[in-house]
């Protein structure tokens, strides 16, 4: 048996005595040289590769770079004057960043990979389907988180209170996951890369508008409550609540106030629970849709 140790620390064994690169000689009574690769190690390698691919793909890189710039630009234009206004700005713009950079980019990447048959080809590798999807999604989730941190820091430099609430970042993480699942789901409706921009448009527009609208104190409460049902809206509302924005910033429709009185729970608690449930519901809906519409290869 030959034992080889590579520079990255993986140990390989061979019972063939075959030098690496020599003729492939497995078969009866023989075993090819192997090295131990854990599922996690394989996922991390693929994730690292996917991150490198983001840098190579100009469109993806542009979306990712542009989104925080837009968020900062909006703050410069609006110049929030109170801590609560900064919290609203940070929450809604964080969701905007995640929609553009995570949801939009995930959809485009999946469709492009499917179109070029890369997804199908990778299925023949040792990267199992679930590991492949995690590897594909993880870079976008990480990039989304990083972008929100960048926006939060930029806002702080512009005068916003520091956004150190862990709950806020948990919501950002959940929203990034929702964006990835939404991307997987939407990819099932786009046959080609040319059609991706049309396929993402409904969720993209509705999400952007709803994420801003639900945090607009000037809008009627019942409409804001209805808007909470739309994708990404509850994320925006929940992020703002967990940043510690005052109660008057949020919608409190009469039926929720009545219900809160009847069960003896504060309205804010009830609305927070509703936000959590809605974020979870959209994750489940996107996941279920992705499961139904997912294809590894282009339509025949």
């Amino acid at each position: 048996m030959t034992v080889m140790t590579s520079s990255n620390g993986t140990t390989s064994t061979s019972t063939t005595g075959r030098p690496a690169g020599g003729p492939a000689r497995p078969g009866p009574g023989r075993t090819p040289a192997t090295q131990r690769r854990t599922a996690l190690g394989r996922v991390l390698r693929m994730t690292r590769f996917e991150l490198a691919m983001i840098v190579r793909q100009k469109v993806a890189l542009l979306s990712i770079a542009l989104a925080p710039l837009i968020a900062v630009g909006m703050a410069l234009l609006n110049r929030p004057t109170s801590p609560a206004a900064w919290m609203v700005m940070l929450s809604s713009m964080s969701v905007l960043v995640l929609i553009v950079a995570v949801y939009n980019t995930t959809t485009s990447t999946v469709v492009a990979r499917r179109e070029t048959q890369v997804l199908k080809r990778l299925r023949t590798s040792e990267l199992l389907p679930a590991q492949m999807l995690v590897s594909l999604a993880l870079p976008y989730v990480l990039v989304g988180l990083l972008q929100v941190v960048v926006v939060a820091v930029a806002y702080q430099l512009l005068g916003a209170p520091s956004a150190l609430a862990p709950g806020f970042y948990l919501v950002v993480l959940a929203t990034a996951v929702m964006g990835v699942l939404g991307g997987f789901a939407t990819a099932g409706f786009a046959a080609t890369s040319e059609r991706v921009q049309f396929a993402v448009l409904p969720v993209l527009l509705v999400g952007l508008v709803a994420a801003i609208f639900v945090l607009n104190p000037g809008a009627p409460d019942h409409l804001r409550a209805l808007a909470l049902l739309l994708p990404f809206a509850a994320s925006s509302d929940l992020a703002c609540r967990l940043l510690g924005a005052p109660g008057e910033m949020f919608a409190a429709p009469a039926f929720v106030v009545d219900l809160a009185d009847r069960v003896g729970v504060p309205t804010a608690t009830l609305m927070t629970a509703a936000d959590v449930a809605l974020v979870a519901l959209w994750c489940v809906l996107f996941a279920a849709t992705a499961r139904r519409t997912w294809r590894w290869e282009p339509r025949g």
Partner: protein, 338 residues
Amino acid sequence: MTSSSATSDPIIDVRDLHFSYGGHRAVRGVSLSIEPAQVYALLGTNGAGKTTTLELIQGFRRPDSGSIRVLGVEPTADLRRIRQRTGAMLQEAGLFPELTVQATMQLWSDLSSRVDDVDAVIERVGLDHKRATRVQALSGGERRRLDLATTIWGGPDLIILDEPTTGLDPASRQTLWALVRELRDGGTTVLLTTHQLEEAENLADRVAIMHQGRVAVAGTLDEVLATEPARVTFDVPPAVGAAWLTSQVRPEGVEVHQHPVRRPHGDRTEVHVTGPQPVRDLRWVLDAAARAGVELERLRANPASLEEVFHRVRLTDLTDPSDHPSDPSSDDPSEVRA
């Protein structure tokens, strides 16, 4: 890692496999048994069910019924183990267009538990001068070769090639065939689908022809060719015809057909004698001609070609649900061949 081949079990054992896409029955009662270190060619018309069968074998799809054992395990139950020991080349290359040849192989190396040398494998498929070239800048044939390099990475026990020479020029095709033979000689089992009968004739130890979701005929090349009668053909003057032959007692299974043909030196009658035993049938013709004093022109005796078998299978209607032809190498004696 264990090798099922050490126990001489089949590398692939498929029994009575069925699979439908909605209402379309793509695979209907397919059985195959592929031994270690064999090249097994799966031929068939378009839509015959070859690629679906390959996808079922690779665990991409779950069969509606029937059983599949690949390297001793059921593919959908233990994908990881199958992938560790299998290399596959699909109809389309499916490589990252932005990556170079070297980076593509490095990625494959990162994902694989099999060990090999990137430079050596690239050299082996003849792409050493294209190491730094991006996939999108490679020709179709070069992409196929890179695809093959990822397939043979680390020397898998089983290699599955779905129409591997589609789009290759003759020289590249010969190179690929040589590589497949080399792999087989090294103990690798190769399952390939192809439209090119020449490819099957050149490479395959066993052949199966699929049609309408079934294996219509299977076996070694000789066994498959034997399913189609061999042919003795000759010309005689029109006035002679074939009456001197048809009046003789015919050996079992022999048929005689004649038709007029125009040759450069005049009209002739071409006579075809088809039968299951070419040597016996030729002897019968020669004896009869000697007895009748007939001179045979342009006499030739040929076994059936794979093309003729393929053509016959293509014209056969296998949609009868009671018909379940299978690979004769499978153990079930109740299985019949078309």
